[in-house]
C-alpha cells in the first residue's frame, strides 16, 4: 500500500516536472497544441498503467517522451489518411474547429522536414542535449547535429535579422 502511494507520488512529481515542457515541445513540432497535449497525456496514461516496470528504467521520462512522439506521429498519419480519403471523395475539406494560429516562425517551422522540427523542438524547447535528442529520436548524434544545423540555417535565412547565431 505504501509502495503504491509512493509510486503514484513519483509519477505525479514526474508529471508536474515534465508534462508542460513536453507539451510545448511537441506543440512546436506538430503545430497543434491540442494534438500535442493529447499525445503526451496518452503517454502518461500508458506509463501509469505499467509504472511498476517503467520506474525501474534508467530514464522513465525518456520512455514517456518517445511514446508521446509516437502517439503524435500516429495522430499525424491518421489525419493524413483522413485528409486523403476526403480528397478522393472530392468533398470539401473538413473545417478544423481549432486551427492553429501560426505566426511567422510557426509558418516557417511547418515548412521544415519532420525530423528537423522534432530536433529543434526537443533541443530548444524541451532542453535536451544532442545525445538525449538522438536517443529520443533513435538517430545518431551526427544526424541530430545535421538537423539542427539545417533547421537553424533555414530559419535564419527566412527571419533575417530576427535569428542570429551567437
Amino acid at each position: 500500500m505504501m509502495n503504491d502511494i509512493r509510486m503514484v507520488d513519483d509519477l505525479e512529481s514526474l508529471f508536474r516536472a515534465h508534462h508542460g515542457r513536453l507539451v510545448r515541445a511537441l506543440t512546436v513540432a506538430c503545430g497543434n497544441e491540442q494534438i500535442a497535449a493529447d499525445a503526451v497525456q496518452v503517454a502518461f496514461v500508458k506509463a501509469h498503467l505499467k509504472w511498476r516496470s517503467i520506474m525501474s528504467y534508467d530514464d522513465p521520462v525518456g520512455w514517456i517522451r518517445r511514446v508521446a512522439i509516437n502517439n503524435m506521429r500516429d495522430e499525424h498519419r491518421r489525419e493524413s489518411r483522413k485528409q486523403r480519403a476526403v480528397d478522393r471523395l472530392g468533398a470539401e475539406p473538413e473545417v478544423q474547429v481549432q486551427a492553429p494560429q501560426l505566426d511567422e516562425v510557426a509558418a516557417m517551422l511547418a515548412g521544415l522536414p519532420r525530423q528537423q522540427r522534432l530536433s529543434l523542438a526537443l533541443f530548444y524547447v524541451d532542453g535536451l542535449s544532442v545525445a538525449e535528442t538522438a536517443a529520443t529520436l533513435g538517430i545518431s548524434e551526427g544526424a541530430v547535429k545535421f538537423h539542427l544545423h539545417q533547421g537553424r540555417s533555414t530559419l535564419r535565412g527566412q527571419l533575417g535579422e530576427g535569428v542570429h547565431h551567437e
Binding site: 507539451v23 510545448r24 497525456q41 537553424r152 530576427g162
Partner: protein, 266 residues
C-alpha cells in the same frame, strides 16, 4: 558551450510552444483517463476469461464422430457380468473326458427342477445331470464379431436377485508366467443364474462345454448355441406365465483365458 546554443531562436520557439497546459487540470484529466483505461482493461480480462472458459467447455463437450465406442464382444449393450469362475483347477487334467461329451437333445426339460446341487466342478461323470445337453446347433457365429449375437430387444438390463460379486479365483497365482498370449490351459467351472434358471459350464483346454442347467418354476430352458468357445442357454416363461422375463445364460472365454458367465434378462 554548445555550438547550437541560440538564445533568440530558443525564445522564439518557446514562445511558439505557448504557456503550456494547466498542470492541475491536466493531472486530473490524466487520472480520469487512467481510471477509464483500468476499467477497460479489467473488462477485457474478464471477457477473455469468459471466452476461454466457453471454449474450454465446448472443447470438453465436443466428441468427434470418429471416436470409437466400446461395445461388448457379443454386441449386447444390456449385458451384465454376474459371476466369475467359482472353481479353478489347473492341475486337473483328467476331467475332460468325463464332462464334455453330451448326448443329443431328447426334449426333456425338467421345469420343476430347481435343484441347486448341480455339479460345480464337473469332474464327477457319474452324477446325473438334471438335463441332457443337446448337440451343437447350426449357428455359426464368427468369433469376436460384435453384432451377430446381439439380442433383438434392447430393453434396459435387469439385474437378477441372485447376482453375486465377481470372485477372483484363489488359484490364479498358479498361472504360467509367460502371458504374452492368452492362456488356454485353465480348467474351471462357472455358474450363471437368472430368474429363468441356472446353468453351469466347464472350461478345459480352451473348450467350453455345458455341464448342466435347470429352469426356474414356470420357465423353460433350451440350449440355443453350443460352440467350442461359447455356450448360450435361453430361459423363457412358460405359456401360462406372463410375468417372467426371457433370460440368456452365456458362457465364453474371457480375454484372460478364464471362463466368463454372463446373464442377460430382457
Amino acid at each position: 558551450m554548445n555550438d547550437f546554443d541560440d538564445s533568440v531562436l530558443r525564445d522564439q520557439l518557446q514562445r511558439l510552444g505557448g504557456h503550456g497546459p494547466d498542470e492541475a487540470g491536466a493531472y486530473l484529466a490524466l487520472q480520469q483517463r487512467v481510471g477509464v483505461a483500468k476499467r477497460r482493461r479489467a473488462a477485457a480480462v474478464v471477457g477473455g476469461l469468459g471466452v476461454t472458459l466457453m471454449v474450454g467447455f465446448a472443447a470438453a463437450a465436443y466428441q468427434p464422430p470418429s471416436s470409437s465406442r466400446l461395445v461388448p464382444a457379443n454386441g449386447g449393450g444390456d449385458e451384465v457380468v454376474l459371476t466369475l469362475p467359482t472353481t479353478v483347477n489347473n492341475a486337473d487334467t483328467t476331467s475332460s473326458s468325463t464332462v464334455i461329451s453330451t448326448p443329443s437333445v431328447n426334449g426333456n426339460t425338467d421345469n420343476g427342477n430347481t435343484d441347486s446341487s448341480a455339479p460345480q466342478t464337473g469332474t464327477d461323470s457319474t452324477s446325473p445331470s438334471p438335463i441332457d445337453v443337446p448337440a451343437t446347433t447350426a449357428h455359426t457365429v464368427p468369433h469376436g464379431h460384435a453384432t451377430t449375437s446381439a439380442p433383438a430387444t434392447t430393453t434396459a438390463p435387469t439385474v437378477p436377485a441372485t447376482t453375486t460379486a465377481p470372485t477372483i479365483p484363489a488359484t490364479t497365482s498358479t498361472e504360467p508366467s509367460s502371458s504374452s498370449s492368452v492362456p488356454t490351459n485353465f480348467t474351471e467351472n462357472a455358474t450363471a443364474s437368472s430368474s429363468g434358471g441356472t446353468a453351469t459350464a466347464h472350461l478345459q483346454g480352451g473348450v467350453v462345454s455345458l455341464v448342466s442347467y435347470s429352469a426356474a418354476p414356470d420357465h423353460d430352458c433350451v440350449v440355443e448355441r453350443t460352440l467350442s468357445d461359447r455356450v448360450r442357454i435361453t430361459c423363457r416363461p412358460t405359456l401360462f406365465n406372463t410375468l417372467g422375463n426371457t433370460s440368456h445364460l452365456d458362457f465364453s472365454i474371457g480375454l484372460d483365458g478364464h471362463l466368463v458367465a454372463v446373464s442377460t434378462e430382457t
